[in-house]
């Protein structure tokens, strides 16, 4: 109950993935030359000496998109349990419920749209 073959399989495959990732890296570490000094560790900016910090201020739109995603992604998550049971459920009530749920999703897209979130570039106050 607590630990099933699925868990085991997942761990096994993840370990295989780790092996697959680390193997080449270790090989490369063995084969590769190990030069030091000079500007070898300088951040790569097409050969120029880096200017300023690598942290630029992004447009606030990035954040807004991220926020919308956060909200949507998890909402869609709720549909997964529904999806497996939907065909078995009789009557129209399941549809009504899904309809309500999805119309709220659509409503929120409409809201964002109307609020100009998708207009780019934009300065959101």
């Amino acid at each position: 109950m607590v630990f099933s073959w699925l868990h085991f399989a997942m761990i096994l495959f993840l370990l295989a993935g780790l092996l697959f990732a680390c193997g080449p890296l270790i090989l490369a570490a063995l084969f590769a030359p190990k030069a030091r000094g000079g500007d070898i560790g300088m951040p790569y900016e097409c050969g120029m000496v880096p200017y300023g910090s690598s942290w630029a201020r992004w447009g606030v739109s990035y954040y807004v998109y991220a926020l919308i995603f956060l909200a949507f992604d998890v909402d869609v998550l709720y549909l997964f349990p529904v999806s497996t049971a939907y065909t078995d459920a009789a009557g129209w009530i399941p549809f009504v419920k899904v309809f309500i749920f999805l119309s709220f999703l659509i409503l929120s897209v409409v809201y964002f749209w109307a609020k100009g979130v998708f207009t780019w570039p934009r300065r959101i106050q």
């Binding site: 009530i93 409503l107 409409v110 809201y111 109307a114 609020k115």
Partner: protein, 482 residues
Amino acid sequence: MSHITLIVPELYFLLLVVALMIQSCGTREWKPDVEKWLPFGAGLGFFVSIVAYGSQGYLFWDVYKVDMMSQFFKIVIAFGFYVVVLNASRKKTISDEKRTDYYMLLGFSTFGLMLLASCVELITIYLALELASYSMYAIIPLRAKSKGAAEAGVKYILFGAVATALALYGLSYIMASQHTTYIAELAGKNWHFADNPMAVAGLCLFLGGMFFKLALFPFHFWCPDVYQGASNETAAFVATMPKMGAIVVLVRMATFLKPGLEVTTLLAVLGACSMTFGNLSALVQTDLKRLLGFSSVAHAGYIMVGLVSGTPEGLAAAAFYALAYLVMNLLVFWIISRVAVDGRNLKLHDLNGLYKKAPVLAFSLAAGAFALVGLPPTMGFMGKFFLITSAWGHGYNWLVIVLVLNSALAIYYYLGLFRHAFTEDTASDSSPVPDNGWFASAGAGMLAAAVLLAGIIPAPLFNFAVAAGKSLFGIVAVGGGH
């Protein structure tokens, strides 16, 4: 679906929110002025919830119970929303294009609170609570370019999130040890610490989440900051409405808080700490809203007094006090909003000479302040009186003594409001000129009249509350509502 008529008030508010949302999506040209119709809509909501007061029944696999208690609180909440909308309809602190959204969020929060009033299952309670909270988190920073508002917002939501997490953690313990989340079934379980430590720990944590909303002592940090940071109109909402939600849940859960249980004692101790701490801190405040913030911490403590007795009367007293608290605070905030015409934060000395500048406001402020103290003949006194009468003789007499001593303590700063408004003449030049129009005066006057009337003739409201309290315990209400 067959009982859709039971949730007419909720549906009405949902409709209101959707209407607001549609309007807020509309183009600038098309947009009618939201303040022109919303007060009527909110008033109708109040009316609808009054009409629906008698309905009873279960919905949604019994997680949603429409009973006297829920209807009582729905009426209270709808009333609060009505007043808040009226209060905010003259605000200057938010730009035009955001107003509709502001009201939408207010409405959404109210909708969540209405749902909360009926929930009788812990997960559902949690959901409804969050529904109510999120919109509120969003409206607090809505104050043009104010640093303080942003700070208040972030403090509120971070503390809120922690409280939520703790509450959920507690919920999981209750699930693990009592195997049910229905309040009705939980009421029959054993809540002694010795027998079931995990359940009691879980319950405490879950209650912690409610205490956060209520701003009870160890969870009160946000309260003064949020009041101070948020705009006056928003503060009026935050100070009153979410507490109704928390109280209704606590009232429902108090059915299994028998006196003598560790949890009950904890509740009592927290209540005592809360009132003492709140009052002591309020003594030294000069910012009006901050003062009210600490005072609401104290009031949260008072409400605990009604809950610990574990009798229908106690719960009814708590419910009645909740109503009183709502009306009193809305009254005071109404006056604050009217006095601070430019939306600034008021200091105590800004009230100087108010009796001359706006006599009706000043008189109403007096009514509000004395109601908050608990002086007769106001609603606040009746509420407090019911609380201590219900709690006396159930093993928590010391709590009652603490309460009355605190009332004496509280006098000092509430009297400050009164003193500045009535006895100080030397208004500084920078003090705002209060809004003295018919709208301001009528609103203040009516709320003050409500405070006084309900203090002189509390019987109808209180009988309703008692009937509601008894219905929680399964005692058939006899002749309630009249």
